[in-house]
Amino acid sequence: MIEHLLDEHAQKSAISHISPRTKLLLGLGTLVITLIAGSILLPLIAAVSLSLVILCIARIPPGVYLRLLLIPAAFTLMSLLVILLLGGGGETLWEFSPSSALTLTITRESLSQAALIFSRVAGGVTSLLFISLTTPFTDIIRVLNQCRVPREITDLMAILYRNIFILLDQATQIHAAQVMRLGYSHPREATESFGMLCGSLFISSWNAGDDLLRAMDCRCYDGEFAQLTPSEPVRARSLLPVILYLSLLAGLALISATDMIPGAI
């Protein structure tokens, strides 16, 4: 399953020893720069370079990475198509009218808008994938703790994260049991089965909540939740390249902003 996949690769990634703060800085920094940059080229550069980091330095198997990229690719393409054909203004480049009521046109403006959005999505998705493929969720919680996010929120995040997998397991099992008894063979049955799946998941998570309380009680719960020991220190060896890379990106963004009109959104 994809959720298992992400976290498992994050645990095993070749840069798991690097401080999560450095990795978050790289991921989030790139994300912010790609989103505010007006140029089309810059996010693409970021996407390619971060992909190289993911594949060559973190050593995530290329097949896994490509499959993950395909998920956002599907709906990005759909929305790009809409923007390309219906967005507009400027010189018309291509026209097609399947009926008298509908005319699809691609204009210069819509083309550049679509290209900009595509490159931003590429940059953004890569930065987010970089974070989720290299930084285990528990490390992110730890960084949040260090950033003084209230304990109540991070504790809750930890419990939620732990229980997501139990719930997913249950959902998979119930779903399998339904499929085996042909629960999804017709739309009508599928709707009914899905309702049942949700119902039993609700009941079982309710019970799981009770069990959780009991388990915590059994172990002398007194409002405290253990925090992982301090994470790996931020090291100059990994921090410097990250800062260098981000300044380079930011510099490029500044240069491109001066000789280009910022994005049309």
Binding site: H4, D7, E8, Q11, P136, F137, T138, I141, A158, I159, Y161, R162, F165, I166, D169, A208, D211, L212, R214, A215, M216, D217, C218, R219, C220, Y221, D222, G223, E224, F225, A226, Q227, L228, T229
Partner: protein, 408 residues
């Protein structure tokens, strides 16, 4: 008589005012006991166990801990739960935190431990169950047996006197179950009282020193494993099955073999009964007894072990305790036995073959004791050799020293 650690006195309980789950149950748990509660599903085993650490409150009757009735105030409940650790049947239900380290630290943190003391408690607990290096792992990426170990470590980190495990082996494969039972044996050897519930009669019969049979919320028999399981009627009523060893022994007696003062509990015991009947004593092969070499793994390195195996041409290797198993795995040695190791090695010795037992700490003495006992009872002289180069048999190392020795 020594004062029991835990005692249930005329305890009755109903869930939500409905069906009676326990009726007038009384029993006591002596210090350092190994007790197995055995019964069918719904016989009330879990209910009874949950009363022992105050998770459930009896409707009538009382539970006593060291002679004092349990109090159900918040602070006394915390104390009893620290003293009487409870391991749930479903490890997924017990593991709360998103990493192994955090989960094991959960109890100690709530008991107020911090910083160095906290990490030393967690490290020791993980060391005891053999899960070093798992600190950062999230529980959903662990196997069933590993999850069980995390659950046990989480309880051990609070250093309980009594350890209660509800169906500890029900979700594990046979090898995984043996590993957990071996771990329990190790923990018992460290002086903890252990209570488990199970419906695995073989396991209860070979492991426990007291077996309690339950049926429909009542205790119907309680005593040594041999006694509890030899009454067919009771076993039938409890919806159980007679352990193979007991059945074999009953049939042997019917075939005219002399009765033995003690009920047999292992293959070794059965062999002894047959041999005593046939030859008046345990037979040895023509080339005499084999020897048993014991090696304290905490004080030996890989070369020493490999050299010993080579030198003595040992064909049979047994591993006792999680420490030894981890080392062997790391060194690429596959042990032949990982459970009931001493008995199996004694049998090997009787067949004229020598074997090597790898274990650690106080378990080394245990091997020597068990073999000496066997020698005395059967007038045999199986030799136990301490394999460590550095000493002549005296075990003086404390577990802490072993840890530092290992880190170096």
């Amino acid at each position: 008589m020594m004062e029991p650690v835990l005692q249930a006195d005329q305890v009755s309980f109903r869930y939500g005012g409905g069906e009676t789950a326990l009726r007038d149950v009384s029993f006591c748990v002596p210090r350092k006991a190994k007790i197995a509660l055995v019964g069918a599903n719904g016989a009330g085993k879990s209910t009874l166990l949950l009363m022992l650490n105050g998770m459930l409150r009896p409707e009538t009757g009382e539970i006593r801990y060291h002679g004092k009735p349990l109090e159900y105030s918040r602070s006394s409940l915390r104390e009893i739960r620290r003293r009487v650790g409870f391991v749930f049947q479903d490890a997924d239900r017990q593991i709360i935190a998103p990493t192994v380290w955090q989960d094991v630290a959960f109890g100690p943190v709530n008991l107020g431990y911090r910083d160095e003391k906290l990490s030393s408690l967690v490290t020791t607990a993980l060391h005891q169950v053999g899960l070093e290096g798992f600190e950062r792992r999230p529980p959903h990426l662990l196997s069933g047996g590993e999850k069980k170990r995390v659950a046990i470590a989480g309880i051990l980190a609070m250093d309980p006197e009594v350890l209660i495990l509800d169906e500890p082996t029900s979700t594990l494969d046979p090898a995984g179950s043996e590993d957990i039972m071996d771990l329990l044996e190790e923990l018992h050897h460290q002086g903890r009282t252990i209570i488990i519930s199970t419906h695995d009669v073989e396991l209860a019969h070979s492991w426990a020193d007291t077996v309690i049979l339950m049926e429909k919320g009542r205790i119907i028999a309680s005593g040594s494993p041999g006694d509890a399981f030899s009454d067919r009627e009771l076993v039938r009523r409890a919806r159980l099955r007679t352990p193979v060893i007991v059945e074999l022994y009953t049939e042997l007696i019917r075939r005219g073999i002399r009765e033995c003062p003690q009920m047999p509990r292992s293959v070794l015991d059965i062999i002894r009964i047959i041999e005593c009947d046939r030859h008046g004593g345990m037979q040895i092969t023509t080339h005499g007894c084999g020897t048993i070499t014991v090696l304290d793994i905490a004080r030996a390195d890989q070369d020493e072990v490999l050299q010993l195996i080579e030198e003595q041409q040992v064909r049979t290797i047994g591993a006792m305790g999680s420490r030894a198993k981890i080392c062997l795995r790391q060194w690429g040695i596959i042990p032949d036995y990982t459970y009931a190791v001493i008995d199996k090695c004694i049998l090997h010795a009787m067949n004229g073959r020598s074997s090597l037992i790898l274990t650690s700490g106080g378990m080394v003495l245990r091997v020597a004791e068990r073999v000496r006992e066997f020698n005395r009872e059967n007038d045999r002289s199986i030799r136990v050799i301490t394999g460590n180069r550095s000493d002549t048999g005296g075990i003086s190392h404390s577990p802490r020293e072993e840890e530092t020795g290992e880190a170096g």
